[in-house]
Symmetry: C2
Subunit: 292 residues, 2 copies
């Protein structure tokens, strides 16, 4: 099976400006995306939120790709309408692969590939990129099913694809160092796809480390729901590091440590600013070796 149609998306969150800037560079310089045996298109997914410099207008677009929302007969909110339009475009253009670019404010998420599912195509592409680029980490969330109530991200519209999170980059900042890194990553992906289409994949590691997403850990709060502790400095900016039982996790308003009590786990999305409204401090993951 060959790749014929690739979609690069950015601006699902309107305040994540670094990949949006790169997409505008590609739009102005389409030769940068041109390869011999497939087509690549660009989509700025939430243009109203981009204009407003906000994550979203009415609600988070990247929670609107559930079967329920996509099937609504008369959507009212901007992002629901937008999600249905994007779905139609993806289906009509027979898109084979979606690469959806985001930024995180967490300090050291590097280049995190959030795979749509564990299909071999996705695992191989991720493993290849990991072998080429020290910044790459691979995260898997849930099952191999596509669209469902849990699988509500843009990447879930079709079987092949991933969300690419780069950072730390503050919202509404165009970071030139990351623009360059991301352009290099896109070029590596397109070259890989061209080669797969021609004569099969290049050499890929047989075993790959994958971080399996588990539950979030919430900030401690008082009776009024106010946050009363901050991330411990050992964890801040230490995404992917191992959190062991009895490790300090938070420091409260009196300066006292709060310790972790669960199973050993690797932390990601530490102090992600977009998650503060949900009072999520970080997510736990389980690091596993996958054989491809």
């Amino acid at each position: 099976m060959k790749i014929t149609q690739v979609l690069l998306t950015a601006g699902v969150h309107g305040n994540e400006k670094t990949p949006i800037f790169l997409m505008r560079k590609f739009q102005k310089n389409p030769l940068l995306l041109q390869r011999s045996n497939f087509k690549t298109e660009i989509l700025i997914a939430n243009p109203q939120a981009v204009k407003l410099h906000q994550r979203y207008v009415d609600l988070d677009l990247n929670r609107c790709f559930s079967a329920e929302t996509l099937d609504k007969s008369a959507p009212v909110q901007y992002e629901e309408i937008q999600a249905q339009a994007i779905n139609r475009r993806v289906q009509e253009s027979q898109t084979d692969l979606i690469l959806d670019f985001h930024t995180t404010t967490s300090s050291n998420m590097g280049i995190t590939l959030l795979l749509s599912n564990d299909r071999p195509f996705n695992l191989k592409l991720a493993a290849y990129l990991g072998s080429q680029n020290d910044l790459v980490r691979i995260v898997l969330n849930g099952s191999s099913k596509q669209i469902s109530s849990q699988n509500n991200r843009l990447r879930h519209l079709i079987p092949w694809g991933m969300t690419v999170e780069i950072g730390g980059i503050a919202p509404n900042v165009i970071d030139p160092v990351w623009v360059k890194r991301l352009e290099h990553l896109v070029s590596q992906i397109l070259d890989y796809l061209e080669q797969v289409n021609q004569d099969g994949a290049p050499r890929i590691p047989k075993v790959v480390n994958i971080y399996s997403l588990q539950e979030p850990v919430y900030f401690p709060t008082d009776a009024q729901g106010e946050i009363i502790a901050m991330i411990h400095p050992n964890l801040h900016g230490a995404d992917y590091s191992l959190l062991n039982p009895s490790d300090p996790m938070f420091i409260d308003l009196d300066g006292n440590n709060i310790y972790y009590e669960g199973e050993p786990a690797n932390v990601i999305f530490v102090s992600e600013s977009a998650y503060l409204e949900k009072q999520i401090a970080f997510y736990l993951t389980a690091k596993k070796q996958f054989t491809i």
Copy 2:
């Protein structure tokens, strides 16, 4: 003249969470602020914006302290009402000194003291802090006048005070490293004030470097008003560095450098995310030596 009443403010911008967290620590542990010869109070200036995790509700509170807005007989917008209430509180409590804590997303603003004016009290406090702390930089904007149409920040309500900008810290992130640094700075300030009240100021450098704020430099835009260039990597995260004529300043969508053509100047607020909506790329400053 003695200091009797000090006001520490945070949350003028609701998404600048790091100093807000420190103020809540002080509220819970008032002994941390207690000194022998003056009182210190805390104000969270824009509680509605803090709840919404936004910079502001209706308009930027830190542009509402102009004479015009404070004199409005029937203010309608939330921040105008709030500015008048804060002004009443400051005047009624006979506050001597305002320290207003903010965060910047720019990478290397360190601890920037934006003085309310060039009165000797403010210059001495800033010079003292600069002598104690390598991260401190001092910025002066405009004249020695208080409230006017240009002097519309909270710090302009009374003659003595400053805005303290710390960063880079992404909006809606509680950065534990910066909480600790800021707590140390507040402690240094309060100790200094106690000593000034007792027996005069401690030893202060006679000559101090001050960055005098000049005009903003805007991102290049196309006919539709869209930004078509990013900050050059040499400048990104290089706040306070010297920009010379012919230095690269931006890179456009085609990858070409755009060069600076003005007089030598030091840059600050580089890629400040809150300024992206105004399309401000950075501000120029002139570094000057002041004799105190």
